[in-house]
Subunit: 285 residues, 4 copies
């Protein structure tokens, strides 16, 4: 599986967020801690919003590992944003390392990514695609379960692509996960499906921490809130909010050494972050 993070809050330099420290996501690309297999070297991606330009996010992806990518390093030092997603990939077996398979996936003003897996996705793919309206059927460029799940989410949201609120997004994601679980179960597979999705439009954020088998621990997912996320001399710090939250991070692994900053998202829950940075948890049934 993979590692990801979502940031929203005060404007921050991408390199301060991704490359600053020993706990950084770029570090996790070759030395993740909370996974048996510590390597996420099958490409990466960064997405960010420039609201002063237009609502469509910028995206930079590569099939090369994040840790040695000169373009990533140079771009990250020049891009500032109030909403940033990043993903380092460990490809599922059978899903190749190609450009079309790099997260995050973008559609219009949305970005989507996943740390998870539908086991034997090839057996799900066809029935999933059948359900899609042409627009979402045709947007699919690669072979990942993640991109297909995104198409399903968008299909479910299709009548409200520009007319929704956080609640709409949350209910649509819940339905998407329910559908994916059903599609997976119908293959007869007894393996557990894991769905840590994250979606944003640059203002609203929703994410899930889910395992299809309630007795199995989902992939890790944490949230931190504070006044400001800063990187000083290679050390990350989330300064306390004291009532005024101005920075929120969702991440597969804590980015600061002080683990008290990081609250695990409970198993089989959605987390929503409103444009005003209000955080809520919603159980998935």
């Amino acid at each position: 599986m993979c590692r990801f993070l979502v940031y929203r809050g005060r404007e921050i330099l991408v390199s301060d967020l991704l490359a600053g420290s020993e706990q950084s996501l770029i570090r996790q690309s070759y030395q993740a801690r909370e996974r048996e297999e510590p390597l996420n070297g099958d490409g990466f991606g960064v997405g960010w919003y420039a609201h002063d330009i237009d609502p469509v996010p910028g995206v930079f992806t590569s099939t090369r590992p994040a840790w040695s990518n000169r373009n990533l390093r140079r771009l990250a030092e020049k891009i500032r944003s109030t909403c940033i997603l990043a993903h380092v990939r460990a490809a599922s077996p059978g899903s190749s390392v190609t450009e079309a398979n790099c997260h995050p996936f973008q559609y219009d003003h949305f970005l989507w990514m996943q740390n998870g897996v539908i086991p034997e996705f090839v057996r799900v793919q066809r029935r999933l695609r059948k359900r899609l309206a042409d627009e979402f059927y045709n947007m699919i460029q690669g072979t990942t379960d993640t991109e297909h799940a995104f198409a399903l989410f968008l299909h479910k949201l299709r009548k409200h692509l520009h007319d929704y609120n956080l609640d709409t997004l949350q209910r649509t994601l819940a339905k998407t996960i329910r559908d994916l679980t059903k599609l997976h179960r119908e293959t007869g597979s007894r393996e557990t499906a894991f769905f840590n999705f994250a979606l944003t439009d640059g203002h609203n954020i929703i994410a899930s921490r889910f395992a299809s088998d309630p007795h199995v621990e989902p992939q890790s997912l944490y949230i931190a809130q504070g006044r400001r996320f800063v990187c000083t001399d290679g050390v990350y710090d989330m300064t306390p909010a004291d009532g005024r939250v101005e920075a929120v991070i969702l991440a597969s692994e804590p980015l600061t050494s002080d683990r008290e900053d990081w609250t695990p998202i409970p198993a089989n829950h959605l987390v929503t972050i409103s444009p005003e940075l209000h955080v809520d948890l919603v159980p998935l049934d």
Copy 2:
């Protein structure tokens, strides 16, 4: 569109075939002659058979242009084969330059490539995929019309994948082209579809030169036969057969200056080359 060639005959060094001369396919990657737009810089691919190892061909593809690829140059100087395919790509609008979209496409012991286009393929894609058995539905990795057409061809051949002769292949390709034309027409598109396909299993070769509108000239395709295809001091030569054909080349453009060596395949015909290098033409209705 693109440029391609197929070689079968005496063992030849790949670099002698692809890189030796001013008329070479690698030259055509940046300076094709028989096309308005002379550039084929959207990646390339080479496929070849090593019958002494196994029936599955080797394939080397890249999204970088052929003309500057050091790996291609080095490999080509070390690989010899009796059956070689090569392709330089000019991507159709909407079909991105990714690894999964590079020709030739391989399935089991088959190689497939195309110089052509289904206009507005995105409107054909879904209905084409519906017809495919799961095995061929799931083999599709990219978004090209070519790979989808290959899946359709294999689907039609599915009961005879290891039990066919040149005649079977020829009839299956004819049916595939008929189907693709029909699928394209059903979209309501009035543009012309062009299908210069080439398929081989390392022994048999079939190719087409086809335009869906009989009043429109298909993309160019030539055949040359001789005793031996050689490259001496940057000059290609096909030595006359004098009754013993031991080298046959199908190519989008003549490779030697002596155009008399090169017979155009007539419009809307298939050409078949038997394992004994016997060449036949079959009209497509």
Copy 3:
């Protein structure tokens, strides 16, 4: 050789500058007009300044052609700057298409690029490197004449890297060209060297149009000045300055159809653009 452009003036979106029109630099990557060989497909690079972040420019380069690069397209739509350089490369023989050979080259707050060639550069390289202080000797990562020329320029400026004005830069570039010409002549080569260099620090710009043989026409280089450079519905326009120049472009080829907007830089001249966008020409002896 290559094609390049430098922009300075009002903030502009990189994609409006590079991708907007039929005359755009990205178009020139596969269809340059003022050269015999119209192809510049051996990689590209973009550099830009974000003065609100720091003085070091951002750089994005790739060995793949500009025309099909999804990352370039996506980034260009999200980056705005008052100072932008871009380059599409046609590699000199012997200088390979590798990441380390992509223009523009960056050192501290400087960007440098070239459309030109030192013939038989390999015979110049060693003697050039001998002259360099360690810092500039060691900065060289690739094998291009351009990067070596940059090291020589920086070496000559070394005592004033942060303490110079436009005049200093202009004299240093003139000396660099004189030295390169001398180094080239000492090899005994009778071929003409071409040096269209461009250098900027984000505020000052200098460029050259030079051929070592005064009877030979240098590579083309044009300048346009106006109130604003805009791209509307695929058409570039430089609106007249009417006394207030707020946008200046140096480019290998005119970007607008109205060639009257574009003044050729005279042969064997330097052109300087001050932080206030004042343009001057200085003859090279």
Copy 4:
């Protein structure tokens, strides 16, 4: 540092050698055992000889990790050789992941690679280059200590590039290591230099296991000899020689579970393998 292997003996399929098993070099690209940092994801390279074609070896390199490279997998299944080198890279700090920095390095009929490091190589580079004849000075394309060391080796051998025996090669490598150690020491650096080099011409092989500080353990290096190296159902086996050695492997880590097959090369020794597969050890002073 890195992991490498050299094979000489009966013809073997590259994929059987590199990809067959849990101990394979491709596995070592993401899970090396005998190193603190288990990752070698900064590109890879394979070199092989096709003596029936010419004496110059084929080389395939990539800056992408070996484990996910489709071209590598496909090529490896089609290339057979009696002499194969392979290398997975963990870049030294400061030496970037570019094509020009991938091992093995080729010059004429020689291949060269390294698992090791000259600390602070940038301070050695200039003085090393000064010693080189133009031919070897100009062959350098990248920035690795390895390529520079190769140039020094070739320079020392320059009068005997086509007229040498194993003894010549062995003495030249010893001298090269002595020189590199001296060059390194002259920088004042107190860090240990590690030099596990391997060189072949397709017939003779020499390699070193060396640390400049005799109290420090060099990087690991093993040798195995047998009748045949085979890969059956994912298990490597070196069948006993019983007096007739027909396969020899030098490798950074044992490739089979049976560690008795693998003899460590003693610290600060050269190992030589003759065209007849006779193995000798020579102490380095």
